[in-house]
Amino acid sequence: MNVGLEHYLALSAVLLTIGLYGALAKRNAVAILMAIEIMLNAANVAFVAFSRYVTPQLLTGQVFAMFVITVAAAEAAVGLALVLAIYRSRRTVDATQVDMLKG
């Protein structure tokens, strides 16, 4: 079977699942962020695959992927800064132990 849209979507799904699993199951906040980056990449793969196979003459999907990357950069910057801030006050990056809102 020739590689086509379904393959890319399947790859995207697998990556998304791995990312989700990591994001849900990890203790370390930085590891969770890394898992989220994988999820965003999975979404990007889907975007670009659609762009390639559904609208090959229109690169909207790729532009969307660029915006996603931008968002990912912003998310990583703020997320990691948050992790640092939490680490500063709590001396831990264990996401399960961070329950600030409870006071």
Partner: protein, 161 residues
């Protein structure tokens, strides 16, 4: 199997294995390095999709910038020695993820996608610019606002004082 298929399978395998490594490895630093590998493999996947500009962006931004940010965060939070353990929700997460995977795959395979068989555009840089700077002007400017907000917010959060 064509060379194109071969490339896809290799890249997809590398991406998935590296992503699994990111999630499963105990050594956080190695996990971060594997994240870079995974991101590069995804860039390769973009290339197979004729999105070469995006692939370069991916390597430049993800592998070059975001990954370095993550590595710095690892060094700053000093938890490398403690490793990268799973939390108590581990089995639940596994179940949820498996469920998601099954449903997603089912959706992917069951849907009859409207494919177009036109040749892809080449080179991509120009058309992207056209869309970006003519159709999506507002999102583009908002992206800069987002980046500004992220910058300011992160500096406020990360500063020592």
């Amino acid at each position: 199997m064509t060379a194109f298929d071969f490339a896809f399978w290799v890249l997809a395998t590398v991406a998935v294995v590296a992503a699994l490594g990111v999630v499963l490895l105990r050594d956080l630093f190695r996990a971060a390095l594997l994240l870079i590998v995974a991101l590069m493999a995804v860039a390769g996947v973009y290339v197979t999709l004729h999105a070469d500009f995006l692939a370069a962006v991916q390597v430049l931004l993800y592998a070059g910038a975001i990954a370095i940010l993550i590595v710095f965060a690892i060094m700053l939070t000093r938890d490398v020695a403690q490793g990268n353990p799973f939390n108590s929700l581990h089995p639940v997460a596994l179940a949820v993820s498996a469920l998601l995977l099954v449903s997603l795959l089912w959706a992917v395979l069951a849907t009859d996608w409207q494919k177009s068989f036109l040749p892809p555009l080449e080179p991509t840089t120009g058309p992207i610019a056209d869309i970006l700077f003519e159709t999506y002007v507002l999102p583009f400017e908002i992206a800069s606002l987002l980046l500004l907000a992220a910058l300011v917010g992160a500096i406020v959060l990360a500063r020592e004082k």
